[in-house]
Amino acid sequence: MSKEAPPLPPMGALGFLRFAWRQLTSMKTALILLFLLAIASVPGSIFPQRGNNPLRVNEWIADSPTFGPIFDTLGFFDVYSSPWFAAVYLLLFISLIGCVLPRTKVHWRAMFAPPPPVPRNLLRLPESMSFEVGAPAHDVLARGQKYLTDRRWRLLVTENAIAAEKGFLRETGNLLFHFSLILILVAIAVGGLFGWKGNVIVRAGQGFSNTLTQYDAWGGGRFTGAARLSPFSFTLDKFNVEFDRSEAQRGSPSLFEADVTYRRSPGAVAENSRIEVNSPLEIDGAKVFLVGHGYAPHFVVRDASGAVVFDDSVVFLPQDGNFTSTGVVKIPDSEPPLGIEGIFVPTAASNNLRGPISIFPGPDDPAVFMSAWRGDLGLDAGAPQSVYRLDTKAMAQIGLDALRPGQTWVLPDGSGSIEVTGFERWASFQIAFDPGKEIALLGAILALTGLMLSLFIRRRRVWIAVAPSSQTVTVVQIAGLARIESADLPGELQLIREAVAGLADTTSATPLGDFKEQK
């Protein structure tokens, strides 16, 4: 906590360690580490981050084969979990602890110690005054003592002087603030170790139960086992969405909400809830958030004999603000296996010149543009495959077509037909459990409280010294000292002056005509 440069290091390993520790916990190091923390945070706002957007990271790396892997190795795509970022904030927090602990000890002692005694020459202090009062010295002192005690100054009273000190909460607040930062860091760690977070897409009418296999993506901390997932389930009954049709904000969503039926455990009673963007559903500490939505066109595929080989809706992922969405259908059971790459547009452009692009996010004129493939889907190769991508390496294209709901495309090779019967909506949910968030909130509240104490409370000392000049006249000297610049100190001294002169009960506007200035 030393604000001065540390002394030269003594010899030896222990001496060096002590020197290093002093350096690390010095104010200047804290300053530099804070700058480093600011700078280290920047790349994460420029490069896409795996935690937020893994797809964009992959694109970025694919698009720049030279720099992509280098930046990846350097951790630019996982900045906030990279070793160098951790190094900066861990050093900062070690420095913080090394800083705050000794300072707490000093402050603790200071709180029970009397204020420092009166300096020899009060009038040398920049804020000081001297005047005469027509009252005996002990009366003057008694008035000063009463005034200061009433205002909860801490006093050291001697025969002919008072030393007073106020504003200890400033340092208390400062320490509270720094300790709360540690608490917030602990909260983040608790959330990271014991919490979990998953994403899932649910089509309207379909259900979800909270087990690992049901998630599209799931991440948990070291101490979150699958066993800790609470056994709730829900069904997406209905998904409501509306888009703005005004000229100015055409197409921006004006409402989306999901009506669900949920059970806390398999045998529990069913309950209803509506999940909206700013109002998640909370079940057993886990929160279910509505984060996105889209379309799932419904396909019925028949083979050459007319028998249905596929009859389901398929989730398509939106690619732009107007929900031009892409997806694939894989039908390994048809002979030979069939694959469909599709683009769903909720509102097809009236002139088809612009290709399969939607011009409005609502389903005013839905259509599906398709490309059908036959051959090996590659599903048996064992490698995990994305359900949103068709591997056409071992396949042959058999044709292209566009369908509106209700229309059927008879495949040109005579192997069957594809019908689009309509579409469902789907909603994507983020389900999160963070046991650290209450601690973090507590830390934030304490930090804010400490901060305000530490910035708004002024620590200051005042001294009153009296010397009798006759039986009834006393020469009084007052002086004050504030640690930080404080415009109010002169005013404060003025009030004390009025108090010791016996004028405290009158308003401060009373002219001080009966004092004779000596300074």
Binding site: K287, Q430, L455
Partner: protein, 316 residues
């Protein structure tokens, strides 16, 4: 008034405010230039009616180069009145915009910007009630006009609807705190910048900008403004985190907007540390204050417009 008239009235008020502020800027500039031309000391004190035996000495100020300086003072006063007028007009513009949209007027970048301009002016005018800061006017009106200029040209949007993510009372809490901070940060950046100018002249033993306080006073003013703004910014960030937890299921996700809010916060924390570190108190601390403001501006314009973020609701 129907909706179109309301929107029109709001726009008219904003334009009227800009016009008024332009005049204010010119007046401030005249006053500033008048101050600069003043050379040497202007005031001599001549005792009059000093008779022997009397303790009272009447002192009359005689001003050497009065015309220039008086003109400067008059034009600074005119500028202050114009600034108040511009503030009231802008307030009307913001309020009418809110009435027209039927919600708090902070739904897109146009609305953030006119409100932020209001915040900058407001911060300045509040300080001006307590002390004489006419010398600061020019450096406040210029950023305000730039903000408004960007707002009406690049950022203007007719949109009234809020995207669902913004439909929350946290919007009012979080954004109003951030807007007050934008005013205070801008004010502090202006005083920090001026303190650097003054400190350079003081180092060379030159008089520095006339009417502008000494570097030391400017630094104290910067500190006071930031000591007020920093807890408020902390509050804004915490409120944002609570809102994010409510909307997206995590209170902190290192989204670019959050990241830059954090960077801004860390830099201002560094500023407060610099104030109590030997060797950092003076100009370096002022530079840190300017760096903090830069991070704030990057967050506001850069992230909203150029970076793909969850918070991209700029409406541009």
């Amino acid at each position: 008034m129907n909706a179109t008239q309301l929107a029109g009235a709001s726009n008219a008020a904003v334009y009227a405010s800009m016009l008024t502020l332009t005049f204010a800027m010119v007046s401030f500039a005249i006053s500033f230039a008048a101050g600069r031309r003043r050379i040497g000391m202007t005031q001599t004190q001549v005792p009059v009616a000093a008779s022997a035996g009397s303790t009272a000495v009447l002192i009359r100020s005689v001003v050497d180069a009065p015309t220039d300086d008086q003109a400067g003072r008059r034009s600074a006063n005119i500028a202050m009145s114009l600034t108040w007028l511009g503030f009231v007009l802008l307030l009307a513009g913001v309020v009418l915009r809110g009435v027209w949209a039927g919600r708090v007027p902070w739904g897109n970048m146009y609305e953030f910007s006119i409100t932020a301009a209001l915040g900058i002016l407001g911060a300045f005018l509040i300080v001006s009630l307590r002390r004489d800061v006419r010398w600061l006017g020019l450096f406040i009106v210029i950023p305000t006009l730039l903000t408004l200029g960007l707002a009406v040209t690049v950022l203007y949007t007719e949109g009234a609807q809020l995207v669902p993510a913004l439909k929350s009372y946290w919007l009012s809490i979080h954004v109003s705190a951030a807007i007050i901070c934008s005013g205070a940060f801008t004010l502090a950046a202006a005083t920090a910048g001026l303190s650097l100018v003054q400190s350079r002249s003081e180092l060379r033993g030159k008089p520095g900008l006339a009417k502008v306080p000494s570097a030391d006073k400017l630094r104290t003013l910067t500190y006071r403004v930031l000591a007020f703004a920093f807890p408020l910014w902390t509050f804004a960030v915490v409120a944002g985190a609570i809102w994010a937890e409510n909307a997206w299921g995590r209170y902190w996700g290192w989204d670019p907007k959050e990241t830059w809010a954090f960077i801004t916060w860390v830099i201002y924390a560094a500023y407060l540390h610099a104030r109590s570190t030997v060797g950092w108190r003076g100009d370096r601390a002022s530079w840190v204050a300017i760096a903090g403001w830069t991070a704030f501006i990057i967050n506001y314009f850069g992230v909203n417009i150029f970076i793909n973020s969850l918070h991209s609701y700029s409406g541009v």
